[in-house]
């Protein structure tokens, strides 16, 4: 039968063509939509191209030198690292706690657990820009609920988004609020996949208190999930943009300027497309290297079943 269908082509060639037909279109689309633009951005980063201009000059590495020596450039890099340094650990610890709590609640009341799960997941499902407006109202220095409550218990309020020393921490707190729900779902999936008999075994071996159970069974078994959550949270916090753009526009006085916002500001407000491309490249290398490092190094140390 098989010989009848392909009299002209040997089987191997036929299979190869089939593979190509299946993989080809997607590969082509990826090349056109991701790789070619990425290469163009890389090329632009060595020019002084102005958005909309008819010509440009090659300026070598000048854009990169500016990013790492210029005051605003350095500040954007530092601010991004500071933001990530708060969001990554806080979001992971909080979401793990919430997930374990919800997991426990689920063992005695499913409905209650569902309500918790939904409300923690709500920030993920809601549009962040709309939510940012809600935050703006809550954090308003004189009319916001946060300061009014603080005022009532006798602690003076703060200018959460207008104080240069506070603004990044405030944005990071919003960042934690935004990512906890997402991470919780991931941790919940991880927790659900831990076989019950491991806990029983631990109990027989004497690890019967909550803390011991956590360290001997839960935490090691969550290794792969934790790694995944870490990578996701890191990339998400490195590309923080919406809250900055809607709440502070990088201000006051560049105090909340982050890499991706700087990219937008330079490219689309200042029209310095060349410089914005250089920031994009640095950001890309940043996230790529980080992801690779974590995956390659951490994967060897992560406990797999």
């Amino acid at each position: 039968m098989a010989t009848v269908t392909t009299p002209m082509l040997p089987r191997r060639v036929h299979n190869a063509l089939t593979d190509l037909a299946l993989v080809g279109p997607a590969t082509l689309a990826m090349l056109c939509l991701i790789f070619v633009p990425a290469v163009l951005v890389a090329v632009l980063s060595f020019t002084d191209y102005q958005f909309g201009a008819k010509a440009f000059n090659w300026i070598g590495l000048e854009n990169y030198v500016e990013l790492f020596t210029d005051r605003t450039g350095k500040r954007a890099v530092f601010n991004t690292l500071y933001y990530a340094a708060i969001v990554i650990p806080c979001s992971m610890i909080l979401s793990l706690l919430v997930a374990m709590g919800v997991h426990q609640v689920a063992s005695w009341n499913k409905t209650c657990a569902n309500i918790f799960r939904t409300s923690f997941f709500l920030p993920v499902a809601a549009t962040l820009v709309a939510m940012a407006t809600v935050w703006e109202m809550l954090l308003h220095p004189t009319l916001g609920l946060v300061n009014i409550v603080l005022d009532m218990i006798g602690i003076g309020g703060e200018r959460w988004l207008s104080d240069r020393k506070l603004v990044l921490t405030t944005l990071a707190a919003i960042g934690v609020w935004e990512t906890v729900g997402y991470n919780m779902v991931l941790f919940l999936a991880g927790l659900a996949s831990i076989p019950r008999h491991l806990y029983e075994a631990a109990e027989i071996d004497g690890a019967d208190r909550g803390w011991e159970r956590f360290w001997t069974v839960t935490w090691p078994m969550l290794g792969p999930t934790t790694l995944f959550v870490m990578v996701i949270t890191a990339t998400r916090s490195f590309r923080v943009f919406e809250t900055v753009a809607t709440l502070t526009k990088g201000g006051p006085a560049f105090a909340s300027d982050t890499l991706v916002y700087a990219m937008y500001r330079e490219g689309f407000i200042y029209f310095k497309a060349g410089y914005a491309s250089a920031i994009t490249m640095v950001f890309f290398i940043f996230v790529f290297a980080l992801t690779m490092l974590k995956v390659v190094v951490a994967e060897r140390k992560v406990h797999y079943r």
Partner: protein, 420 residues
């Protein structure tokens, strides 16, 4: 029989073809739909009634002048520019710098005759660069003081004797600030345009006339920055984002809100029944009134099409919008001041409007007396340096020495613009 049908069909095609040849469609771009969508609709209806041979086709409006320029530049790269655009009075030069705008001098022809149609030199200057007319202003706004009369009077101020100088304003701000822990005195943004207004009030300029020297660290510039410093130190002003200040003013917890007159309709609407907003002129500080200018925000039209027939249609549209009939529509539906002097001089256009809008008269008189261009810094770093100035002034508000900061900022701006 068949022949006659063919002839009839051919004839009707021919007729359709003729009609299309007579009718010109022009594509229009504008920004800020929250202010302009209703105005554009009314303008289009009135214009098409007067010129049935021209049809207007609107692009989806851009959220702001900045995003508007972005989309125009993208269109330029893709060779899909609209025929005419409404740009910000500070953003049209970005289009001019890339050679996208068509100079209007050829269409204006005789300058004296043009001036007689209500286009005064001060208002024409808003769209001129290097001796050429690139844009026609159609809506103008300057900085005004929005006051909450209840707070002013509670603090012992007198609305009939409202301060006309900065000393009085700072003193009033301090008094209002003392009223209650949650009530604040005055607020003004340190943003580029606002600072240029303070600078102009003291008779200073950001750059010299041929744009080869940075001059905002002059005595006038230091005086302007000092007002910010005193507003903060003596008047109790703190730095906030614009929206935060506007919410506070609407809620009645901010006494004096200093911002663009284009926001007038929204500010009055925001205050609602809580209090009656009073609009006061921006203080003029310089002794020599001739040296004073208030940078003018607003909207101007630029011609973008290269097609001769479309250029003629666009020019008719521009004349209509910037003429008295267009100005009347724009003024009555926003807080903008007219950019055509005929509409102000002739009571038949806006007489009734002024009777019920006292604040508008304040803003319009200010534009008529002191309108000047909103300086756009030249070159690739032109927009970027405005953020440097803004950052410096935030430091002044937070207690740094105004003279020192303004000199540092000027030095940094000189470096960026390569104007040493």
């Amino acid at each position: 029989m068949r022949k006659s049908i063919i002839a009839a069909v051919a004839g009707s095609f021919f007729a359709v073809g003729m009609a299309q040849a007579e009718e010109t469609t022009i594509r229009v771009h504008y920004a800020h739909p929250n202010i302009f969508s209703k105005i554009q609709e009314k303008l289009a209806v009135a214009f098409e009634a007067e010129h049935p041979e021209i049809k207007l086709d609107f692009d989806a409006p851009a959220e702001s002048y900045e995003t508007g320029v972005q989309s125009l530049l993208r269109d330029a790269v893709a060779n899909k520019l609209p025929d005419v655009a409404f740009a910000g009075l500070s953003t049209w030069r970005i289009l001019e710098a890339r050679g996208l705008t068509v100079p209007l001098d050829e269409f204006i022809g005789d300058e004296a005759a043009f001036e007689a149609q209500g286009y005064t030199p001060a208002l024409r200057s808003l769209g001129q660069y290097n001796g050429k007319q690139h844009a026609l202003a159609v809506a103008a706004s300057t900085l005004v003081v929005y006051a909450n009369p209840e707070l002013v009077e509670r603090a012992g101020g007198d609305m009939d004797n409202f301060p006309t100088d900065f000393d009085g304003l700072i003193e009033l701000s301090a008094k209002i600030n003392e009223l209650d822990r949650r009530i604040e005195g005055a607020w003004v943004s340190p943003h580029d345009w606002r600072f240029q207004s303070f600078l102009g009030s003291f008779g200073g300029r950001p750059l010299n006339a041929d744009e080869t020297k940075v001059t905002f660290d002059s005595e006038a510039g230091i005086a302007a920055a000092t007002v910010y410093s005193r507003l903060a130190e003596e008047g109790g002003m703190q730095f906030y984002e614009d929206s935060v200040a506007r919410q506070a003013f609407n809620a009645g917890t901010l006494g004096l809100y200093i911002d663009s007159s284009s926001l007038m309709a929204r500010v009055i609407e925001g205050a609602g029944d809580r209090f009656e907003v009073s609009v006061q002129p921006f203080p003029i500080a310089a002794e020599d009134k001739a040296s004073v200018y208030l940078p003018t925000g607003g909207s101007g039209m630029v011609m973008l099409t290269e097609d001769k027939a479309k250029q003629d249609a666009v020019w008719k549209y521009m004349q209509f919008v910037s003429g008295p009939k267009g100005a009347k529509i724009i003024v009555e539906n926003s807080g903008y001041a007219p950019t055509n002097s005929l509409v102000v001089e002739d009571e038949s256009y806006l007489g009734d409007f002024y009777k019920s809008n006292a604040g508008a008269r304040v803003a319009h008189a200010q534009v008529a007396n002191y309108a000047g261009p909103w300086y756009a810094f030249p070159g690739d770093e032109g927009v970027a340096v405005t953020d440097v100035i803004l950052a410096g002034l935030i430091e002044v508000i937070e207690g740094e020495d105004p003279e020192e900061i303004i000199k540092d900022v000027a030095a940094e701006v000189r470096d960026s613009l390569e104007l040493n």
